[in-house]
Amino acid sequence: MSFFEKGFIGPIGDDLPSLIPIVTGLVIFFSVFVLTLNTYNEKNDYLEKQIDMTSVARDLKGDSLLLNWSQFNDRCTGLKIKRYPYSFIAAIYGTDVDLTKAIQDFKDASIQGPSGTREDGSGFGFIKQEVEGLDQQSFYCSYLKIGGRDFSSNMREYSVRFYPIAVQQPIMVATSNATYQYLIVPAVMAMVVWE
């Protein structure tokens, strides 16, 4: 074998025209592969989040009727021991409240707690009930996964859902001595899930 034969450039140089498509092909393949892998993981995360959300919401609202705050709190406590891979906040609003503020409320409540206030000084609008020995308690349930960050500092990707629910609530009767009538009122459970 002689290196001085006609047309010979070198071991790589001789194959250069064929190397270009091979390298281009490999670059294309790995780019698409990485893109697919990322999309696959992202979509799996999203679907898992949705499944968890559906499951948590079903556990929290039960048969779409809450008789009192203690029942809601028991369900909330029961959920916290399940160790979900996502963090969530669920709260119940009356139907006379502007639900477009729910996300901002959740953001602020994750810092101040459910009894905090909005920028204008008004409360968050969650339904509250007087509980013996605990004062007024909001229908608010939050869960932070192990090592998770609170909602206010991690609002990049989240999912929101609303569910109709009925809540038995003491309604004040306008009499000289404040009395209450226990009535079942329509309400909306708002829920947000994030990583």
Partner: protein, 255 residues
């Protein structure tokens, strides 16, 4: 002959590499197609779980809630008057049926209004984007023939059709007495698009003590402009036989 092969070896390698890139392109296209389509069905299924949960919850809430006899929705922050009378919305439906089971209009206009206002508050998170049909129907007869006890049709409509300068879209509420049983399947299902339905079974009794089984249902869909819906709610239509519920608008229900 030997030198001819030597001269053509580079050309063969080039063809091989072109084959390689063709295979890679096919694989890449396949992967890309997978990435685009992966999870779409699961997502669609999860969304349908959510919307069917939403419709079922709405129906359940309707059967639980208390309401004032004059149709005011009770909110948690409300202070009620000692003279106000409260009842379960469902008790009002039962009462109406017991009293009027032999009449043409079995559910009174006041109870129809109460149902509409309860549904308005229950569907509030999406109030401006949904249309719905709520119905109570008696099941039985030949081949599942249905007799509607009540049908409330809430539909977004253009106030002045054709006149673009004055048109505004608002939801209107209709009470319908369909003349044949499969009106929903015939007109709503094919035209509403993705539809979320919930159905429950209830028992209503006449004053004579005869009780019958009824189906209580709701079909919710994202509001869309379809000529057939305008025609249905046109009072000339004899199949749906709809009349507008007077005094019930989104504005009146919101106040």
């Amino acid at each position: 002959m030997k030198s001819v092969f030597k001269e053509r070896s580079a050309q063969a390698a080039l063809v091989d590499s072109l084959f390689f890139i063709a295979i890679i392109s096919a694989l890449g296209t396949g992967l890309f197609y997978f990435a685009i389509n992966y999870g779409l069905n699961s997502e669609k299924m999860l969304n349908s779980f959510y919307s069917s949960d939403f419709a079922t919850d709405a129906l359940k809430v309707l059967t639980y809630v208390n309401i004032t006899r004059d149709g005011r929705i009770i909110t948690p922050s409300m202070v009620v008057d000692p003279a106000d009378e409260f009842d379960y919305l469902f008790a009002m439906i039962k009462e109406d049926y017991a009293e009027n089971s032999q009449d043409a209009v079995k559910i009174t206009p006041q109870t129809q209004k109460n149902i509409a206002s309860t549904l308005y508050s229950v569907l509030k998170p999406f109030d401006s984007s949904f249309d719905y049909i709520f119905f109570i129907t008696k099941e039985g007869g030949i081949q599942g023939e249905q007799k509607f006890l009540i049908m409330i049709f809430a539909l977004h409509k253009q106030s002045i059709p054709g006149d673009k300068s004055k048109e505004s879209i608002s939801r209107e509420y209709y009470s319908c007495v369909p003349t044949f049983s499969n009106v929903i399947e015939k007109y709503i299902f094919p035209n509403a698009g993705a539809l979320d339905s919930a159905i429950g079974r209830i028992s209503l009794c006449e004053s004579s003590g005869i009780c019958s089984s009824f189906l209580l249902g709701i079909n919710i869909w994202v509001s869309k402009k379809a000529k057939v819906f305008s025609d249905i709610t046109n009072e000339v239509d004899t199949e749906f036989n709809c009349t507008r519920i007077e005094g019930v608008t989104d504005a009146s229900l919101a106040s």
